[in-house]
Symmetry: D2
């Protein structure tokens, strides 16, 4: 019998969320006769029973639209007093919902795994703009963020050259430096600083000086989660992992004056921020998100509860929540070393 | 001992050629002490011994530049009287070239395979904007073409809606419909017509009528290599494959008046043409091209003559020319069927 | 007393139409308590009494949207049997409409002038993507078209350079060459061909040869309305103005093979077409269109029937329909000569 | 007799500088036989006699390139010991320079005026990305900055909507709010805060609450020079003008937490920064800059020392330095009031 499904989007905004919703609704409706509702503002809507119907007409033209028409929040499903698996199963029963499609990141996958173990029919679509989920080659939103960051580098370079300045661009990437690595390679950055690979301010300054020595204006891309061991106490506070983190503002804003101080080269920081996660998705992300939406409709039709869709090579496959969560996908040391080799 | 290598780019222009050259030169210089020259205008430069030195300075800032600084042409290496393996080996000897890096499409791979079999030290980097080489998940340039085609669809849709017209966009894709499929999904096209899947004008008109019936302006994306069995003799000439091809202009220009005639719905065609293969590459293509350039430097260092670099999943791997050429990578019927399911 | 107004958009699609509608509705509602309806598909909707209410909510988010939410067509208001000033006045009375806001080009302005003379309360907003209305410094849509054409030139140039080809881009401009002139200057074209300035194929070929002689790949931008006196009979048909026009396809498609034939230089044409008039408007056009929408709300409040809004310098002013229609704004010979001087 | 001219670019980077240089060199060479050198890094290069030749070949392809190939700095011409009119005249004599073309902002115009009064042959091209020079309708670079800021607003809005957050975007505009006004109108911002019009945090919070009340996510655009009278002492320091300025970071970063505190609505700030002044110019800016470059070549040919080129309507005209400097062009209260009326 055709199923009735509830979709929710959780966590930070990400280009492609709407395309996933559209892909699931169009294929589900056409092929399986599935019906859909959208829970408003993520798990909150599920827990509170706040849902709107999602039919073909509601998803028209959505592939090119950034954001999510059903809203998102950072609330989790186990919050008191209305959350938890029992409450959610009752809520689903009352709304006539056969299963949940949860589109979200690591936190969502963890919650979904627990709900599944507690007997809730749930499947997932991985969402992380940082591209740091191990189970999938790429996540939608990442390509858009990289395109935006690369355009920013292209723009900053001309100004760096005009003024003979060092330009620092801070991009997203809390635990993994994929956006920094990809945009840095695409934009021809001279230094790419990522959370996986702490570097001393001495090393960074050495790189910057060497670029200036070759007659060029240094372009540094730094992921927000990058830290350096010798960040002094005036600028930092020690994190739980033992590394120092910036006390105020972003790492780019801490780094730029330190580079200037160590090298004598005028240095300016730009923090790209939320611009990376909004607006129209790249075509690549629209296709990936649409395919994931279509595939999750298949997954539900097969009652593949407890699984997520993922990209392997050019194929959309299915993985267990547990596998998806086993490891954070960070930049391998060899990939980082390869990039460094460009600069001898 | 460090090698001296000649790079050539052959066939149609493609965003990312310069990034490949830069990746090879930077890594080859930094890691292996390789030296490079560029043959001017593809095989022609090799055959005629027309080459320029390529050092670090020559490739500065190239990752973001479209085109190829060493030029390209459609000339092959076996042309008389200066071509052929013997002449080319002598030419290489005179120029002190240890090996050739040939960046090109199917024709180039075929020629490179034959040269390799004739004893020339040669490796390859696959280049096809149509993404139709079987040995690699994606080729650089394809992502850029898809982004450009998708932006064109986004623009044409608003005009289609304003005028209640059917809009037809012809994109590249002579033997494979990847650009049409990806940009069509990304842009939410109502019909995607590809070389792999002939459709009658009756079927196409039926789709168009059904979109109008749902109150929308039909958006049709058609790959240049698409044909339809019932194309009448006034518009077509029969190809060697038995299918009809447009007599004049592109398939989009043949299709639009036929759709208008069959449906009574005002229909306009746009042929995107060369815009798809020029200009700044997308960030995705810059990264892929840079990585392929770096990997071909490794390949040469390992004396992996007779092989090409390729993308498998997220890895750059090595494949034999023969494997690369075994099959054209066309859109699988299932992928096409999946897309059709979006529209019930 | 607050007025009730009917808005219509007529003629070819143009980026900024929606922003005009939004500007008029928001200001009219906020400042004057005006009410609005939109006539569907231009004059057709007025003549047939087909209208939808336009309130603040209907115009949300419209400044960035291409196209027109009320549709457009090329139908005029004097068509039989329902058109004409008498019928329209009756129609307005029945719908309780105090005045018409007609957004359109020369045809619309002519019709509006006649309706005004026949006693209909009507005001206008000039719309021509070709920028050829004399009464206004710029029309919205023009800037967007120029940006799109310039990006196309940027892309085509790299391919021209890679292949040492002459690239021909046909842009819009039936009677005036503004899009060709602006995009050609912005893109650094070597020849800009406009309707106002016929040139022989001999002269054009001379320019192309001279560019090749300087070691560059020629970039030619041609407005769709350009003609050359020596276009031969195989390619042309004589227009009412005595000049020859292409028999089939666009002027770019006629020109390219002729250039190739006369110069021996490989030449390729691209016809940009409808892409120029769809999609998101440039910021400049959004501002201009919004300001014109706001100003037309003022104009109606002042009962300035028979007038249009226009841009003079940085100011939005009011002009009579008659003044707006007195002359087509074509590229002055001096401006064209100035551009030619760049190439000595 | 044909003149030999020195060009310099001074102050902050600005899209279009290279197009001005190209326009002057191409026209000067073609029409007047003028010769050009470029002083490296602004006035510094003039004072120190550091110059490079600028011929047709040096300016190839420059119309689309951001930055300035001759560098820029914030150094002035009267610095000791090598500056001052006497030294500069001697320097010009030794280099055989007949006149100076100074491309720069208010500081440059002031210095040029003084040099002219001290007997130096000098003309100017106005450059301010903030568009705040009274003598010209628009300055090049402004359009590019507005396009970039508008794209940022488009992106931030989707994220604001997804999270029901208030998004604050800080754009450039130290003394004049033109970028904020134009991008805010183009992007449909709900509040635009400019230096010319201080507003209390209470008023801003009232606007934000009212937008949320209408069910939308508030978008606030703030110019970097905006201040509010009730900025508390923890966040501000009093400027010479008696207004408070942010103590640390940009005004956007001060404003966002205050809005959140006053309204209870989650609020996030993005500071666009240097991205606004780098990279490829918009087509509009390329045309304006090219025309100004061409016009300054005419101005020099006419020995119009002591004057600048400027845009009036669609014409390039000449103005005295003194007139250009008489007033800062700020946003008129009426324009600001007009925009406010959109929101009733």
């Amino acid at each position: 019998m055709a199923k009735r499904l509830g979709i929710l989007t959780s966590g930070g905004d990400c280009p492609g969320l709407n395309a996933v919703i559209r892909g699931a609704v169009l294929k589900g409706d056409s092929v399986y006769g599935q019906e859909f509702v959208g829970f408003i503002d993520g798990w909150k809507g599920l827990v509170e029973g706040n849902a709107i119907p999602l039919d073909r007409r509601s998803v028209r033209g959505l592939s090119s639209q950034g954001g999510t028409i059903i809203g998102t929040s950072r609330v989790g499903p186990y919050r008191e007093p209305d959350g938890g698996a029992d409450n959610i199963r009752q809520r689903m029963k009352r709304l006539g919902i056969d299963g949940i499609i949860a589109i979200g990141g690591e936190g969502t996958a963890n919650a979904a795994k627990r709900l599944f173990e507690d007997g809730v029919n749930i499947v997932g679509v991985p969402k992380t703009i940082d591209n740091d989920l191990a189970a999938t080659d790429y996540t939608f939103g990442f390509s858009t963020a990289v395109e935006i960051a690369t355009e920013a580098i292209d723009r900053l370079r001309t100004t760096g050259n005009s003024h003979k300045r060092c330009m620092v661009l801070e991009v997203m990437g809390r635990h993994a430096g994929w956006i920094a690595l990809f945009s840095g390679i695409a934009g021809g950055a001279h230094a790419i600083l990522i959370p996986e690979q702490p570097e001393t301010i001495e090393q960074i300054s050495e790189w910057v000086r060497s670029v200036v020595h070759r007659g060029r204006a240094p372009m540094v891309v730094v992921a927000e989660g990058f830290t350096f061991p010798d960040m002094d106490q005036a600028h930092s506070t020690k994190g739980l992992d033992g590394f120092n983190r910036p006390r105020l503002g972003g790492i780019g804003e801490v780094l730029a004056p330190l580079i200037e101080e160590h090298t004598g080269i005028e240095t300016r920081a730009t923090v790209l921020g939320h611009i990376q996660r909004g607006g129209a998705p790249s075509a690549f992300d629209r296709v990936l998100a649409t395919r994931m939406g279509m595939a999750v409709s298949d997954l539900v039709a097969d009652e593949g509860w407890g699984k997520m869709v993922a990209l392997h090579g050019t194929d959309i496959v299915r993985v267990d929540f547990a596998d998806a969560l086993a490891n954070l996908k960070t930049v391998p040391p060899q990939s980082y070393a390869d990039y460094r080799q460009l600069f001898g």
